[in-house]
C-alpha cells in the first residue's frame, strides 16, 4: 500500500513537472462539465487546435452544471498557473465576473465559449444561440405533427443556462406561432439516460394522446428514444433531439427520431483556442463568433458539413 502511494505520488510529480516546464504558451479552458459527450467533443476540437497552433491547454469543468462555486475554484486554480489566455464557459453569467476582472488585471485575455457573461472583459465569445436553435426545433416539431396536438419536453435541467434557453426557445416559439399545439409536460432528468428514460415513459403514460417529445440534450433525447421504443410508440410519437452521439444518429437513420439539432462542439473548441491564440498575439477579434447550429435528419446526415459537427 505504502509503495503504491509512493509510486502514485512520484508519477504525479512527473506529470506536474512536465506540464509546468513546457515552454509553449499555456491556455486554461474552464468548461461547464467534462463528462458529457458534448464537452468531450469541445475538448477534442480544442486539443486539435492546440496541436495545430502549438500551444498547451488544460480542459476541465465541474461535475454538474449547478456547481457554480466549484467552477469558480477551478477558475482560481487556473489563474494561479498564470496562463497566457483563459477560455471560459460560465455557469453563471455574473458570479464569475470578479475572477475575470482579476484575469484582466493580470493581463490575461479572456475568451468566452458556449455561453457569454454579463461583462465586457471577454475579448470574444464563441457560442451557439441555444434559443434560436431550440426555436428551430419547435418549428420542425410543428411541421412533423401538422401544427396540432400535444407535445412534451424532456430537458436536462431547469436551472442551467442551456437548459433554460432550450426550454424557453422551444416553448416560446410554439406559443407564438402554433396556437393548436399544446405543451402538456416539461420534466427534467438531469441528462441521465436511465432517469430520462423512466421519466419519458411516465409522460407518455400520463398523456395517451401525445404527438411529440423534444429531448433537449443528448441524455434527454436518448431517454426519449428508449421510452418510445419501450412503450411501443414508434411512429406514433415524433421525437426531436438535440446534440449527437451514436444512438441519436442510429435513431435518425432508423426513423425512430425525426431529426435533431446539433451544435458545432468540435468547431467551438477549435475556434475558442484559435481566438485565444490570436488574443495572445494581440490581434483584433469580433465581439461574437457564432459557432452555428444545424438541423440534421435522414436526408442530410451524411453531408460532410453536417458530419463534422456530429460525434459518435
Amino acid at each position: 500500500m505504502k509503495r503504491f502511494l509512493i509510486v502514485t505520488l512520484i508519477s504525479l510529480f512527473l506529470i506536474g513537472f512536465s506540464i509546468t516546464s513546457a515552454q509553449r504558451p499555456y491556455i486554461a479552458m474552464i468548461s461547464k462539465g467534462f463528462q458529457h459527450q458534448f464537452w468531450q467533443a469541445v475538448k477534442m476540437g480544442a486539443e486539435k487546435a492546440a496541436k495545430d497552433l502549438n500551444v498547451t491547454i488544460t480542459f476541465e469543468g465541474p461535475e454538474s452544471e449547478a456547481m457554480v462555486d466549484k467552477q469558480i475554484e477551478m477558475l482560481q486554480a487556473a489563474l494561479a498557473k498564470k496562463p497566457a489566455a483563459l477560455c471560459i464557459a460560465a455557469l453563471d453569467s455574473k458570479a464569475v465576473i470578479p475572477y475575470l476582472e482579476k484575469a484582466h488585471s493580470m493581463g490575461i485575455p479572456v475568451i468566452g465559449f458556449d455561453s457569454g457573461v454579463d461583462s465586457d472583459i471577454p475579448v470574444t465569445t464563441v457560442a451557439t444561440d441555444n434559443i434560436k436553435a431550440a426555436g428551430y426545433a419547435a418549428d420542425m416539431m410543428a411541421k412533423f405533427i401538422n401544427r396540432v396536438g400535444e407535445v412534451a419536453l424532456v430537458v436536462h435541467d431547469q436551472t442551467s443556462r442551456t437548459g433554460i434557453d432550450r426550454r424557453d426557445g422551444f416553448v416560446n416559439r410554439i406559443k407564438q406561432k402554433y396556437p393548436l399545439i399544446k405543451i402538456v409536460a416539461i420534466q427534467y432528468g438531469g441528462g441521465d439516460h436511465l432517469k430520462s428514460t423512466d421519466l419519458a415513459k411516465a409522460i407518455i403514460q400520463a398523456h395517451p394522446r401525445l404527438k411529440g417529445i423534444f429531448g433537449a440534450n443528448e441524455g434527454s433525447a436518448i431517454g426519449v428514444i428508449n421510452a418510445v421504443r419501450e412503450m411501443n410508440k414508434v411512429g406514433k410519437i415524433v421525437v426531436i433531439g438535440y446534440d449527437s452521439g451514436k444512438q441519436q444518429i442510429d435513431a435518425i437513420k432508423s426513423g425512430l427520431m425525426a431529426g435533431a439539432i446539433t451544435q458545432n462542439p468540435v468547431g467551438m473548441g477549435y475556434m475558442a483556442v484559435e481566438a485565444a491564440v490570436k488574443a495572445i498575439k494581440g490581434e483584433k477579434l469580433p465581439k461574437f463568433i457564432d459557432s452555428g447550429f444545424y438541423w440534421y435528419d435522414k436526408t442530410n446526415i451524411d453531408d460532410p458539413k453536417i458530419k463534422q459537427c456530429l460525434y459518435e
Binding site: 467534462f34 463528462q35 431547469q158 409536460a185 439516460h193 436511465l194 423512466d198 436518448i222 419501450e230 451514436k246
Partner: protein, 328 residues
C-alpha cells in the same frame, strides 16, 4: 402447504403483510388520482424502473446489516458496465464472457473494499468513498470519456429488454427480462440472507462484531466476502443497466448509491447493523419508484415533486415505525 398458509396469517405473517401498507396506500392513492396510473404497462414501467436501484439495494443490504456502508455502489456499477463494454465491444469477446467480466469487476471492487476495511481497518465510509472516486475516474479513463455501444452484439440488449415471458405467454405482452432477473436475484438474496451461514454471519457481525470474533468467527474473512457479494449485485446492476441502455455510460452512476441506501433504510434495515431484510429493501425500492412514477403521471411540477417525495418518504417510514411499536 396448509401449514404455510396458516403461517401467513399468523402474527409474523401479518407483520410482513403490513409492511406493504405504505406501498399499498401509495398505489391506492395514485390509482384514484389518475386513470393512467394503474395500467398493466405502467406497472411494468414501475417494475422496470425499480430494477437497477433494486439490485444495488439488494447488495448493499448485506453490507448495511453488518453495520457497514458502501458508497461505491453507484460508480462501481458504472465501471462494471464499462468493463462489459470493453470486453464485448472493444475486445470482441463473446457476450457471455463480457457479462461475466462486468459482474466480476463488481466483485473485485467489493473484494478490495472488504479487504481495505477488514485488513487496513479503514472505516467503511472512507474505504468505499475512496473506491467511489477510483471507480468513477477509472470508468472515464477506460472508456475514454465516451459511451461504449453494444450494437455489434444485438443479443446483449436482450438480456434486460428481451421478453422471454412475453414470448411464452403472449397475453403478457412486453414483459422485460430485467424484471425477471430482478425477481430471481431477490429470491437468491433472500435465501442467502435467511438460510445460509453467510446470512447468519452477516447478522452476527452487525449485531456485535467483537462477540462474533470471540465466538471464533473469522470476521475479516466474512466481511470481505460480504462486500464482494455486494459487489456482485452491483456488477449485475451494471450489466442490466448497460443492457437496457444498450450502451455503457461512463459518466452516470454517482448519486445512485444514495437512492439505493435510502431504499434499504426505508425498508426497515437499521444503519447500526444487526437488523434488516431483503423483503423490506424490495418494498423500499418499490416505494421510491412508485412515488417518482406516480408524481410524474400526475404532472406535479418537478420542484414540487421533490418536496412531496421528501414528505412522503418521511411519512412512509413513520407509518412503519408506528406499526412496529404497536405490534406486541
Amino acid at each position: 402447504m396448509a401449514e404455510k398458509l396458516s403461517a401467513l396469517f399468523s402474527k409474523s405473517g401479518l407483520r410482513q403483510i403490513l409492511m406493504f401498507a405504505s406501498l399499498f396506500l401509495l398505489f391506492a392513492f395514485f390509482s384514484l388520482a389518475s386513470p393512467n396510473f394503474l395500467t398493466y404497462e405502467n406497472v411494468i414501467a414501475i417494475l422496470l424502473a425499480t430494477c437497477v436501484n433494486g439490485l444495488l439495494a439488494l447488495g448493499v443490504t448485506f453490507v448495511i446489516i453488518t453495520g457497514g456502508i458502501d458508497l461505491s455502489i453507484g460508480t462501481v456499477m458504472t465501471i462494471s458496465s464499462v468493463m462489459s463494454g470493453v470486453f464485448i465491444t472493444f475486445w470482441k469477446l463473446p457476450v457471455f464472457v463480457g457479462v461475466l467480466g462486468g459482474i466480476l469487476t463488481g466483485v473485485l471492487a467489493g473484494f478490495i473494499n472488504g479487504t481495505v476495511i477488514s485488513k487496513m481497518k479503514l472505516p467503511p465510509f472512507i474505504a468505499t468513498l475512496g473506491m467511489m472516486m477510483i471507480a468513477k475516474g477509472l470508468a472515464l479513463v477506460v472508456s475514454g470519456c465516451k459511451p461504449i455501444y453494444f450494437n455489434d452484439a444485438p443479443i446483449f440488449n436482450k438480456i434486460a429488454m428481451g421478453s422471454i415471458l412475453g414470448s411464452i405467454f403472449p397475453g403478457l405482452g412486453e414483459f422485460p427480462n430485467a424484471i425477471l432477473w430482478f425477481i430471481l436475484f431477490i429470491i437468491i438474496a433472500h435465501i442467502i440472507l435467511t438460510r445460509t451461514a453467510l446470512g447468519r454471519y452477516t447478522f452476527a457481525i452487525g449485531s456485535n462484531e467483537e462477540a462474533a470474533r470471540l465466538s471464533g468467527l473469522n470476521v475479516d474473512k466474512w466481511k470481505t466476502i460480504i462486500y464482494a457479494l455486494c459487489g456482485m449485485f452491483v456488477g449485475i446492476a451494471g450489466v442490466i443497466m448497460a443492457s437496457r441502455l444498450n450502451s455503457a455510460q461512463p459518466a452516470l452512476g454517482q448519486g445512485y448509491e444514495l437512492d439505493a441506501i435510502a431504499a434499504v433504510v426505508i425498508g426497515g434495515t437499521s444503519l447500526r447493523g444487526g437488523e434488516g431484510s431483503i423483503i423490506g429493501t424490495v418494498i423500499g425500492a418499490l416505494i421510491m419508484s412508485t412515488l417518482t412514477n406516480g408524481l410524474r403521471i400526475l404532472s406535479v411540477p418537478q420542484e414540487w415533486q421533490i418536496v412531496v417525495s421528501g414528505i412522503i418518504i418521511i411519512g412512509a417510514v413513520y407509518l412503519d415505525i408506528i406499526r412496529r411499536s404497536r405490534e406486541v
